[in-house]
C-alpha cells in the first residue's frame, strides 16, 4: 500500500484514525496501531509479514538477553547473534542473487542464482531493529519488555516501508507516554498534505520528463539533454523521497510520535559532505552512529571506515554495481573534502563551491538512474561531450518548454522558503494570523489538486519502496 494512493488516504487512514481516536487508553491505542500496521504491511506482503514479525521477535528476545547478561560475555554473544540474524536476513533476500551472479562471472561458474522477492521495506526495518539491539548493548536505551510495544516500534506503518529510519531511542519514551495535541494534529495534516503534493504534483510529473529524456536511447541524447535529464531526475528523487518522509513524519505526528527530519534542503549545500548531512539524514546518522567508528581498520580507520560507509551506503540502496559505484563516488568527494580540511574549503569562493557541489550531485544521480553499465557509460560520454552527439536537441527544448512552470516550481521549493515564512510569522501577530490562515487555504488547494491528480496516477509507487 502506498501513501500516495486514494485507497490509503481515503479508506485505510480514516478508518485507522477513527479506531485510534475511539479510545484514550494508550495500551489499546498501541494495539490498534500494531493491527493497522500489520494490515498495512500484509496488504503488499501477505507472506513476508511473518518475516517482519519474526525479525521483531528475534530482536525483542535479543534485547532481553543483552539486558539480562549486561556486562557479561553472553551479552556480547547476544548482540553478535542479533546482528548476524538481521544482516543474514538482509543478505539472503537482498544480496544473494547479486553475490552469486558476480561469483559466477568472476570464477566462470554456473551456480544457481537465488531469486528472492525483496520484501518491501526490509532495508529500513532491519536497520531499525539493529539500532535497538546495539543501543541496548551500549546501554543507551532501556530494554523494551513488552513485545507488543516493540512490535509497534518495528511495524509502525508511517515509517515502515520507506523510512525515515527511526532509531528506537527517538521514540522510546513516546511508545509508552504520548499525547496527540491539536498542534500535532494540525502540523501532521499539513505535513502529510505537503508530502503528498511533493509526490503527486511535482515528482510524478517530473518523472514524465525523465521518462522522455533518459528513458529512451541514451546514446543518441544531446549534451544539454543529458544534463537536463540528470538534473530533473535529481529533483524527481528529491521530491519523491522527501515527499514520502514528509508524509511519514506527518502521520507520526497524528499519532503523537515525533520523528527526526530526514531532509534539510539538500540542494543548498556548498559541498558534498554537507549534502549528505542534509539528504536522507536518518541513513547517514545510522552509519555515522554504528559503522563509522567501528575499530576495524587500526590506525587508518578514519579513511577506511569512511569508504566502508560509502560502500555500504551504495549497497544499501540496491544490489547492483551502479549503486555501489554511486556510493563510492560520493565517498571519494567526501574523502577529498575531509583530506583538504574545512578551513581550506571555506577559502574557496562560495559560487565555485555551489557549482562544484551541484555538478557532483547531478552526475551522481545519473549514476543512480542507470542500472545498465553500458547506458551509464554512454551517459558519461554525453555529459562530457565525447559522444559526438548534438549540443542540444529539439525534444529537450520542447520538453523544457512544455514543463517550464513545473521545473521552476521544483527549483524554487528546493530553497528554504518555509524558513523565510517562519521568520515572517515571528514579526507580528497579524502576520502570523494571515500566514497561518493562508497555510490552511494552501492545504485545501494542495489536497484537492493532489487528490484529483491521483485519479490519473494509480500505481505509481515511491522510488524508495524498492530499497
Amino acid at each position: 500500500m502506498t501513501f500516495s494512493s486514494l485507497f490509503f488516504l481515503y479508506f485505510f487512514l480514516p478508518i485507522c484514525l477513527i479506531c485510534y481516536s475511539s479510545t484514550q487508553k494508550l495500551e489499546y491505542r498501541n494495539i490498534i496501531l500494531v493491527i493497522f500496521s500489520l494490515i498495512f504491511y500484509a496488504w503488499g506482503e501477505p507472506i513476508w509479514v511473518s518475516l517482519l514479525v519474526f525479525s521483531a521477535f528475534i530482536d525483542y528476545i535479543h534485547g532481553l538477553l543483552i539486558h539480562k547478561f549486561r556486562g557479561k560475555v553472553w551479552s556480547k554473544i547476544a548482540l553478535i547473534s542479533s546482528l548476524t540474524i538481521n544482516l543474514g536476513i538482509l543478505a539472503i533476500f537482498k544480496y544473494s542473487g547479486f553475490l552469486v551472479t558476480n561469483i559466477n562471472e568472476l570464477l566462470s561458474l554456473n551456480l544457481t542464482v537465488p531469486s528472492f522477492k525483496l520484501p518491501i521495506g526490509i532495508s529500513f526495518y532491519t536497520f531499525q531493529t539493529i539500532s535497538y539491539t546495539i543501543d541496548c548493548y551500549w546501554d543507551k536505551v532501556k530494554v523494551q519488555k513488552s513485545f507488543l510495544n516493540f512490535l509497534m516500534y518495528v511495524s509502525l506503518f508511517p515509517q515502515l516501508v520507506a523510512g525515515p529510519i527511526v532509531k528506537y531511542s527517538t521514540i522510546e519514551k513516546e511508545i509508552t507516554s504520548r499525547k496527540t495535541t491539536i498542534s500535532d494534529l494540525s502540523k501532521g495534516f499539513t505535513r502529510v498534505i505537503i508530502g503528498l503534493a511533493k509526490k503527486v504534483i511535482i515528482a510524478n510529473n517530473l518523472s514524465l520528463i525523465v521518462d522522455t529524456i533518459l528513458g529512451g536511447n541514451i546514446s543518441s541524447l544531446s549534451y544539454i539533454g543529458t544534463w537536463y535529464g540528470a538534473i530533473v531526475y535529481a529533483l524527481q528523487v528529491y521530491y519523491d523521497f522527501s515527499g514520502y518522509s514528509d508524509m511519514a513524519i506527518g502521520l507520526g505526528l497524528m499519532f503523537g510520535f515525533h520523528f527526526d527530519e530526514n531532509f534539510n534542503y539538500p540542494f543548498i549545500c556548498k559541498d558534498i559532505s554537507e549534502f549528505w548531512q542534509r539528504w536522507h539524514i536518518s541513513l547517514g546518522t545510522f552509519f555515522k552512529d554504528y559503522l563509522l567508528y567501528l575499530p576495524l581498520f587500526g590506525k587508518r580507520r578514519k579513511y577506511a571506515s569512511l569508504f566502508l560507509v560509502w560502500f555500504c551506503t551504495g549497497l544499501w540502496h540496491g544490489a547492483s554495481w551502479n549503486y555501489i559505484i554511486w556510493g563510492l563516488y560520493f565517498g571519494i568527494f567526501v574523502f577529498i573534502e575531509s583530506f583538504l580540511g574545512k578551513k581550506k574549503i571555506k577559502k574557496i569562493p562560495m559560487i565555485v563551491r555551489h557549482i562544484y557541489s551541484k555538478l557532483i550531485i547531478f552526475i551522481g544521480f545519473g549514476i543512480f538512474y542507470f542500472e545498465n553499465l553500458k547506458s551509464l557509460l554512454n551517459f558519461f560520454k554525453n555529459l562530457f561531450f565525447i559522444n559526438g552527439n548534438a549540443f542540444i536537441d529539439d525534444i529537450t527544448k520542447i520538453s523544457f518548454a512544455n514543463n517550464i512552470i513545473l521545473i521552476l516550481i521544483a527549483v524554487v521549493f528546493c530553497f528554504p522558503i518555509t524558513k523565510f515564512i517562519e521568520k515572517l510569522r515571528e514579526k507580528s501577530t497579524k502576520m502570523l494570523a494571515v500566514l497561518d490562515m493562508s497555510q490552511v487555504a494552501v492545504n485545501v488547494a494542495l489536497l484537492l489538486i493532489s487528490s484529483i491528480m491521483l485519479v490519473d496516477a494509480t500505481n505509481n509507487p515511491f522510488l524508495y519502496f524498492r530499497f
Binding site: W43, I182, I404, I405
Partner: protein
Amino acid sequence: MNNIDNIDIPILKQPVKKDRKQIEKSIQTINVIVIALIFAAISLFLLIGKRPTVSKTENRELARFPSFSSKSFFDGEYTANIANYYNDTVPFRSTFKDMTSSLRASMGIELDGIIIYGNVNGGKKDAKKDTLSAEKTETTPPPKQTTDETTPTVTDVTTGITESSPVPVETVPVEDEIDDIEEGILSGGILVYKNRGIPVYYGSFAAGQNYASFVNAYKADLGESVNVYSLVAPTAQSFYMPKKYAEKYGSEKDNLENIRQFLNGVIEVDAYNALLPHKKENIYSRTDHHWAPLGAFYAAQEFAKKANVPFADLSTYEKVIEPGYVGTLYGWSQVAALKDNPEDFIYYKPSNQYTTTYYDPNFNFDHKGPLLIKAYGSSLYCTFMGSDEFIVHVNTDVKNGRTLAIVKDSYGNALVPCLTGSFENIYVIDMRYFNLNAINFMREHGVTDVLFAMNTFSATGGNSKHIERIRTQ
C-alpha cells in the same frame, strides 16, 4: 527603575505571547476541522459514489473487484487488486482525468506548436540508420522461392490470445510496444503538433524483412491461384510530422520500400503514394491513432486497382458525420490540447446490398448484424464492426466469384466498407485474435485474394509475429 522595568516587561509581553498562542491554536483547530472535513467528504464520496466500469477516453475496461482465492491472497494479488479497483474506478473518473490534463497543460508552454508525451527519445542512436541509402548495401533480398513449402495440415485450435474486452482495445502504438527500445521499433511516445497527435515511429528494417517473409510464406502455401497483397499503411507521422522532427525518427516511406524489396510473389499496394496527394484532406484522425475513413478509402481504391476489381465512387456512399470526436491519443497521453480540440468523425456507408455475419475467433457463429454499428465517444472508430475480435463474413451483391480474406490489425477495419462493392465475399480476420489455421481457413472458404492490411507499427512491430502464428498454428 530597574525593578520597575523588571516588573513591566512581563506585563507588556505576556498578552502578546498569549494572543499569538491563542491565534495559533485557533487556526490550528480550523486547519484540523477543515482538512478532516475534506478527508471525510472525499472518503464518503469514494465510498458511496457510483463507480464506472469502463473508461471511454482510455478505451478500456476498468479494474473489477477481484474474486478471492487463497493463491491470489497469498501472492498479494487479491489485496493489490482491491486497492487497484478502488483507485481505478473513481466516480466521475473521466472528469477528474480531464481536470488533471488541464492542470498538466498549465505546467508549461508549447514550443513550435508541439507538446510531447512519453518516450519520444527512444530511437536508435541514428534514426536514419534504417534508411534505404544506408541499408541497401547491407541487405540482399532473399532468393526467389522455386518450390512451395509443405502445406501445414495442423488444425488444432489454440488460444494464444487471452485478452478480451467488451470495449475494443486498440493496440497499435502501445500493445507490443517497446519490446526492446534498443531495437527502436516503437516508443509509445506521442508528439502533439498543432493539436494533432502523432505517435512516434522509429521503424526497423530487420522487422520489415520478417514481415515480408511472413506474408511470402502465405503466397508460397496458397500457390498461384490465390493473389496475395500487402498493404502496409503509413501513419500520421509520414504526412504531418514537421520536417525537422521527422528526421529524428524512422522514415515510414523507407521502411515501406524496404518491405517491398523483400516481397516475393506478393503484390504490394502502395498506400503511401495513394494517400500522399490527399494529405490536405481528412485522411488521418487528429486525436486518434487510426487513419480517418477517407484515408482508408483512398488506400482501398489503390488496392482495387491492383486486384482489378470494380470500385464504387465516393459519391455513391452516404456520408455520416459524428461531431465531437476525441480519440485514443487523448486517452493515452492526456494532452489537453487534444481534448480541447475535438474533431468530426466522418465515415461513409456503402450503397450496395450485403449481409454481415459475426463469428468468434474459432469461427463459431455469434450473430448477424450491421457492418457499420453505432459507436460513441472515443470509440467512434469502432463504427467498423465494433470490435477486432470477431471473424466477420460479408456477403455482397457483387457476383464476380472473388472472395477476399483481409488479414489485418485495426487499420484494416476501415477498408471493409470500401470493398463491399468489389468482392462477392469478404472474410475479415484480425491476426491478433484468430484461433484457427489461416491457410486451411482460406482454402476451406475458397479465398481467391488475400490482403494483409495493417499499419507500419504492426508490420514492423510485435504484431507481425501473429501473421506467422496463425499460419503455423
